[in-house]
Symmetry: C5
Subunit: 345 residues, 5 copies
């Protein structure tokens, strides 16, 4: 548990306070208090629980939700505070084939922000550093401080989302080459799952931000609303991209099927051309391999050479026929295209 | 019929009361009365019907709905009570390939909860045990007692839903191997049906909980609303997962088709390579099997060996050609991938 | 035209009244009057039109709608009456491959119900019998009487809807066997059309019932609303099933395509295995059928038998290879699965 | 420009009036004035523009919209008049493979209707004839007159829409026969485009009629609303059918793919059966065509006949095998089904 | 930075004013001031930022949004001004395979319009020329001036959108010919991306225009609303077309798959016919190539010729059989259809 307090008129935040001092700090409405719980051990969870329930007197269902993982982003209004769950990306573990998020729970009151998380958040760390170097974010009140945290958290989605772009382009290229068989299928499925998760999370998160930024809650004063709207707009963009990725991943399956079908078609053509040329020639050879006593051609001195010549003519005629139908001697249709402009906006 | 009564100020619930005492118990508004009907025989159904219509004076359409099965989850408000239908899973019979639910009907009044079911419910049993060991749930009134029952009932969905996750992963693996032919198809269809049922039931149930948790009904006081909201959030998660499973099952069909197409492509390649190599060689053999009298090669002492050598060269050239086109000697593309991380959130 | 009148306090309905008496009957607000027009001939249509326009003074657009067929279910409020169109199934002609409905037009006033139909309705007949044997339904007023008619009409959808279930299961089984070729396709298309019609009709009808059951119209008093809600719930269930059937029919197409693809794959395997085994053997035979003078093997006494033995070895090796790749000697993958549990809820 | 005026109490409409008289005619609020502009030449467009801007004083953006083509149906309210755009079908040019509409612009005021069109409209012509033969439509005021025009215009959609039904049935039949190759594909694409256009136009037009028929505009008095509702219902039916056609056209693609796949399967079976029977026989012949010196069978007097007999036995055994697998001698699966009942409602 | 001022009553706009004069110009509410920032260098961005923040006192989040690219179209209301982002097409770079837009940010106040862009806009240039040649657009106030700019900007979408039409038709033709293999697939994917972008951008932009044109903002007086509605309608049309293009691009994939499948079917037929005719003939030849001593036919003088004749008969019978099944001698089914009428409305 880390407590940061900004006292009105001060030019820096106080640090390193203890839980005992909290009631007094909160009682002075001109303070801005940020309590951050990194509950990464059972003892810390217990400690946090105690403070949340007994000092802040938060509804114990919300405290239970804090501790539980696997919650969706949501926001709930209580008479004197807001409770919210948002999700941040886990950059270390996340890739386009395995999009993972972690939960950040929090409370926003008139003069306090509480954040609770079971794992470290880069965005929390960044805002703490900012606040310590300059109390600017605190001077505007608790809602602005919360905005800073959410802004940082949402900003970290963007690089992840751009990874999707790259992954889709790479898979598109590989689908067009059909080099990697089932690996490709597996990756397509993983990408599809990741995109679905991103869509689900960002849709719910967008809803939380929408409600925060439209003046529904008295804890967020109207002069701070544009800042939340700004975060909302960023998330909107991510959400739109997620919708777009869904379509593009669907398109990758189409390409995949199309390439398999085209390749099979090509194999069939090869087989058909080989068979259609060799089989008739074999028949000719077979006919002159018959053992009838009376086969006049066999005795002509040039019969053999004429037959070979005839075979040559048949071959040329058939090759010409298949060439005209476009079955042979075309430039390879399945080649790697030049990298498409992936600058999706 | 089982009647449990909590009298205000008491520290345990009274048990084993009879229908005759009900009017008095209900008249005292400080009591919290839970009447549970397990109507698993025609006689019990008659008995329950009688109590519901004559003691509680519930609308007889709702009593008819109680007895009837195959109703959808719903909630109806009457001046002095709420009537609701919710569905619980049938864990014994339910699997991911056959998702089955059972109906729980109920009434919520100012100081009573009535539950009616044709089959045993594990959640009912659990709450009864809780209440008997400590009347805590009753002290907060009838709405809180109902919340306890619904909470237990919804919690039992979760393991079922996780079974879907496993089933989808297992089917994905099998689809990638294409070992089980039509059995797979059959299971995919069953899974699709189950997911559709889960989606339908949870969507309707979500609607019931949404209405319960948004202050629409005077029977649920506002301090109890957060508890219902909690159940609603759990159900929301289940509903989201159901939506997700739908997409994933759709993806399994894509994989299935893709694997069939890839396998056919592979078979075609084998056929084409075999034909394209053996047929020309057979033609050569056929030519030297012709019976022309004048075939100079036949008389050369090394003709046979040169021909065999020529056949070898043709074979090597063709093999090289097909190898370069990637038709042969590639590592098998259709192999079992490593188990994907199925930790879907 | 058939007129049934229930006079307040009476214990049976009066029957066989004539159009001339209608104005008096309607003027007495304590009566409940049901006028049923079975307009199955041009004369009866004219007679009905005359009564509707001149006795009841209904808006002539509604009278035109009565006579016209091919209307969608709808409800329209006029100051002193409601006009509605609902659709009943035509059980004689309807099957899962050709879902047909017939129109029932009607009016509901303070003390009257008017029903108009060009074809006989089983539900109308049933309610008439009920009312004649006991005036109970009339005692509660005209809205309750209408509820009785609609309830009967909606109940007759259920057996039809269950036919869909059977048809889907039967087609699924046949799709898995791929025995019936284009007949199957044709039936799938017909089923899809029927399901689309059922969805369309039930969606519109649901809308009519929704409006009837939510207190929008003064003609339906609030104590009768639960009865309409009950009909609404039945229809809701039908509508949900129709949505479900749509997905299942889509799934049948997937199965159909999958089975064709699997069968083609199997045929290809047979062809590939036969070719890959016989062609090399034929080549060997072809080689020893060449007419070179100097072919040492031909003169060895056991050459023939060694060659046959070699051919046997090649066959065994290739069979083993294809067996290991899973192309042969597997149990037939395309078999009839056991009947799935079709108890869809 | 054609001006028709109905003066109150008169029993016929006045005709052949000039633009100069318009201000007086419009000033008398008891008149009903219909001004119809057929602006099929640049001069007439100029003339119309002049009257619309200077006599009627309509907003010049609406006048610009009149002259421009390619507008969507819409309705806009101005203080003293309504401006609307609706689309009629072009029966001469329209077919199910090329659904084309033409624009009708108009204004509705307290005592006038203005219609403006660049092409002739059959519906306009019909209403003019009606009005000239009997002023009935005018007696009810300008809104009723407009209703007459829209009613006629919407009625002309119906035959077109029924053409779609026929086209879909015909294409379904042809898809099942797969006789027409790419022509079919082309027609399917055209039909899909036409259906998309019909859906788009009718959805927007429905919106216009919905707003007209729900009492939003003071120009349409409430006693006229049922008539607009009637037109709305007709359009609703067309819109519903369009939705339905979309699904059916999608189904045609499914049939098309299924038939191609089935045909390919059949071709493959033929090939596999021929190869699997002939290749082994050829191998036998090849073996006895080898030139080994020591091949005892060759010298037995009945060797040849026994070999032929053996070939016969092999053939019969293989035919029996393929017959049992259902690959041969089945009645042709791809046949023309009997015409389906296309009576879609 | 370019400042254009229209002073009331003047007959031309003043030009070439400097930032210092702005406060005075803005203070006089009868002026209409247009400040256009082309911020194509870091210095100009700084200059613009300074004016926006210090002279106009705009919220600095909006100024940040101005400078940032990759924003979606949006509109935000502040007490004394509106902030909006719209997107224009980049005609130079945009093609149907790579639809690109550029951002135009702006502010609308009671008597001013501010436009900010990092790149040149043709629409801005056009309106400047108009305003300089005649101050008409300014006389109606700042909202009308903004309408002019948006109208020009939206008009430039139309040619782009028509390019899509052409691209879809061209790809449809090529898909039907299947000449270009993967290039086609690549172009289909690019087109799909472009259409998706167009849909996304136009949907958001439509939302901006909808809000502008429905009287939500006091900055846009009600007499100017019809002009914004006009722009909205244009955009609506573009948005509708984009929806339509999405369906059509989906249809192109269907055609593509269908053509591949048909071609494969054709190749298979060729292969099957060749095999089914040549293999039996080869068998006959093989039989008479056997070396049995006792083969009576070999010694008959006409055996050879009878055999050849028999082969001819077999050939003719098989050709007739395949011709009757429609496998050969049909006019080529895959031909280029006549160009479809692409006049999509």
């Amino acid at each position: 548990m880390e407590i940061l307090v900004y006292r009105e008129g001060s030019d820096q935040v106080e640090d390193g306070l203890s839980a005992e001092q909290l009631p007094d700090l909160l009682a002075d409405k001109s303070n801005v208090v940020w309590v951050d719980f990194l509950a990464d051990s059972p003892e810390r969870i217990e400690e946090a629980k105690d403070v949340l329930l007994n000092v802040f007197k938060f509804h114990y269902l919300t405290v239970e939700d804090c501790i539980e993982t696997r919650n969706q982003p949501k926001i709930e209004a209580f008479p004197s505070y807001l409770y919210f769950i948002v999700h941040g990306v886990r950059p270390e573990e996340t890739s386009s084939s395995n999009f993972v998020t972690k939960e950040l729970d929090g409370y926003l009151g008139e003069n306090f922000v509480v954040t609770f998380h079971l794992e470290r958040f880069r965005s929390i760390k960044t805002v703490k550093q900012q606040v310590r170097s300059s109390p600017f974010a605190c001077q505007r009140g608790s809602a602005y401080l919360l905005h800073q945290i959410l802004d940082q958290l949402v900003d970290l989605y963007m690089p992840m989302v751009e990874d999707f772009d790259d992954a889709i382009n790479e898979l598109e290229e590989r689908a067009l080459q059909m080099k990697s068989g089932n690996t490709l299928l597996q990756e397509l499925m993983n990408l599809r799952r990741s995109v679905a998760r991103l869509r689900r999370i960002s849709a719910r998160q967008l809803d939380v931000l929408y409600r925060m930024s439209h003046g529904e809650f008295p804890q967020i004063p109207s002069n701070i609303l544009p800042f939340f709207r700004d975060v909302h707009d960023h998330l909107q963009r991510i959400s739109d991209l997620a919708e777009n990725y869904r379509d593009l991943v669907g398109g990758l399956f189409d390409i995949h099927f199309s390439v398999i079908a085209t390749k099979t078609n090509e194999v069939m053509k090869t087989l058909a051309v080989v068979s259609a040329i060799i089989l008739p020639l074999s028949l000719i050879a077979g006919i002159y391999g018959m053992n009838f006593e009376n086969m006049p051609e066999l005795r002509t001195p040039n019969g053999y050479f004429l037959t070979l010549g005839f075979m040559g003519v048949v071959t040329i005629v058939l090759l010409a026929y298949f060439w005209r139908r476009g079955w042979i001697f075309q430039k390879d249709l399945v080649e790697i295209p030049t990298e498409p402009d992936s600058e999706d906006q």
